[in-house]
């Protein structure tokens, strides 16, 4: 059981800056995120795309913004729990008991949800039949490539993940690569490499096809793929891999007794607290009149929620507002003063 002053759910820009604000005012915090890396949507959706509306930063990419926020946290010791999804949040006396998908648990007076639009989950195949084979013969990521050796693997998708795995596995597997259109969005060099392997017969390429059905008793035996003109082809397959990117799902957050509005959480604009005392929501996931889904709004919301956490984490102390330019307390915490 980890005890902390505040637990942040979500390691996107808002979660990171909220951690900065908590540490700056002298509170401990830990961060949980379902992704295997820090940065949230900035890193997952647009690492290379420039952002132009961060105050005082004329232009930076999602990756640069993330790296800058991480380096702003350098003076502080913050524990990250990555590849973990928060499954359960329940009241225990005056604290919140929080449990993650890997069994980690926390006891904290403050939970700050900085969850964007929820946790990232792989996008799945449309036909229902596919569910039956999931995690047995059908995967949305590769954990152990050795299982594919000598087998027939049908890979779906048009981005770098699909292409990279098609190229890699073509060394010792029979590969079908299936994509819904002729254009691929992967890096040009990767697309060229894949086309070479198609010419040399190492990869069978099917474009303008999509998954239509999957067959096999216990183990997957074959799949049907359907062309834009409705023609169906049957491909013998031992394994299927689907790479359609990630989708954001609200997931277990919906079960924590919070006031929800579509996929957002209602908060007040003083503390960014939800209808549950000690649970806050900041960034894209919170909702209030006039809410803007901008990174800069998340920074503001996190700063205020952090001050609200102080009251519950240090009930016997008084929070005093200070500037980093002048406060020796803050400068000490930042490691700028002995």
């Amino acid at each position: 059981m980890n005890k902390t002053d505040a637990l942040i759910i979500g390691a996107g820009p808002t979660g990171l800056f909220t951690a900065h604000q908590l540490k700056l005012i002298g509170l401990d915090c830990e961060i949980v995120d379902n992704l295997d890396k820090i940065g949230g949507q900035c890193i997952e959706l647009y690492p290379d795309k420039p952002i132009y509306d961060i105050p005082a930063v004329p232009e930076c990419t999602g990756e640069e913004l993330t790296n800058n926020l991480i380096s702003q946290l350098k003076p502080f010791d913050i524990k990250f729990h990555l590849s973990e999804r928060v499954e359960e949040v329940k009241k225990e006396d005056t604290s919140w008991f929080v449990k993650t998908s890997s069994g980690n648990s926390f006891l904290t007076p403050n939970v700050i949800i900085a969850g964007g639009v929820g946790s990232f989950e792989p996008r799945k195949f449309a036909p229902k039949e596919c569910e039956k084979y999931e995690n047995k013969s059908l995967f949305y990521s590769v954990k152990d490539k050795k299982i594919f050796k000598g087998k027939t693997v049908s890979i779906f998708g048009g981005g770098d993940s699909a292409l990279d795995w098609a190229i890699e596995l073509s060394k010792d597997c029979k590969i079908n690569l299936i994509h819904r259109r002729d254009e691929f969005r992967g890096a040009q060099a990767t697309v060229d490499k894949m086309q070479e392997l198609v010419k040399s017969g190492k990869i069978n390429l099917f474009t303008k096809y999509q998954m239509a059905n999957a067959q096999g008793d216990q183990k997957l035996e074959s799949i049907d793929i359907k062309h834009d003109n409705n023609e169906i082809k049957n491909l013998k397959s031992d394994y299927v891999l689907g790479f359609f990117g990630l989708i954001m799902q609200l997931g277990p957050i919906a079960n924590w007794g919070l006031n929800l509005n579509k996929k957002t959480i209602e908060v007040d604009t003083e503390k960014f607290e939800t209808n549950q005392k000690g649970i806050y929501a900041v960034g894209d996931i919170c909702n209030y009149p006039g809410k803007l889904k901008l990174i800069l709004s998340g920074f503001h919301e996190g700063a205020l929620a952090a001050r609200a956490c102080f009251k519950l984490a240090r009930p016997n102390e008084k929070y005093r507002f200070e500037f980093t330019t002048t406060s020796s307390n803050l400068l000490k915490r930042l490691g700028k003063k002995e």
Binding site: G157, R181, D284
Partner: protein, 106 residues
């Protein structure tokens, strides 16, 4: 102003007058049309405002810009007449547009 008809997967028709300059996605979200999630808020980053546009209208709409097809690769059951409704801007020219909403967005 343009009349846009949103047809849900259950074949319910919702005809809404949408102001010029808004997107077809915003017309749906502001009027609580079910089935258009628009998780990213119109940034062409999520493919959860996916719609099907009938062939005749599909060819009349301004062409897809770079990136929309990349995003549609990730949509649920994309077809040749798939569009992201956040990329269709409402104008008098698209008065009468009908879009079909897929069975789900993800």
């Amino acid at each position: 102003m343009a009349k846009i008809t949103y047809i849900t997967h259950e074949n319910e028709k919702h005809t809404i007058e949408v102001q010029n300059g808004l997107t077809v996605m915003e017309g749906a979200v502001q009027n609580n049309i079910p089935g258009i999630d628009a998780d990213c808020g119109g940034g062409m980053a999520c493919a959860t405002c996916h719609v099907y546009v009938k062939e005749d209208w599909f060819n009349k709409l301004p062409k897809k810009e770079d990136g929309e097809d990349d995003m549609l690769d990730m949509a649920f059951e994309p077809k040749t007449n798939s569009r992201l409704s956040c990329q269709i801007i409402v104008s008098d020219e698209i008065d009468g547009l009908e879009v079909n909403i897929p069975s789900k967005q993800a």
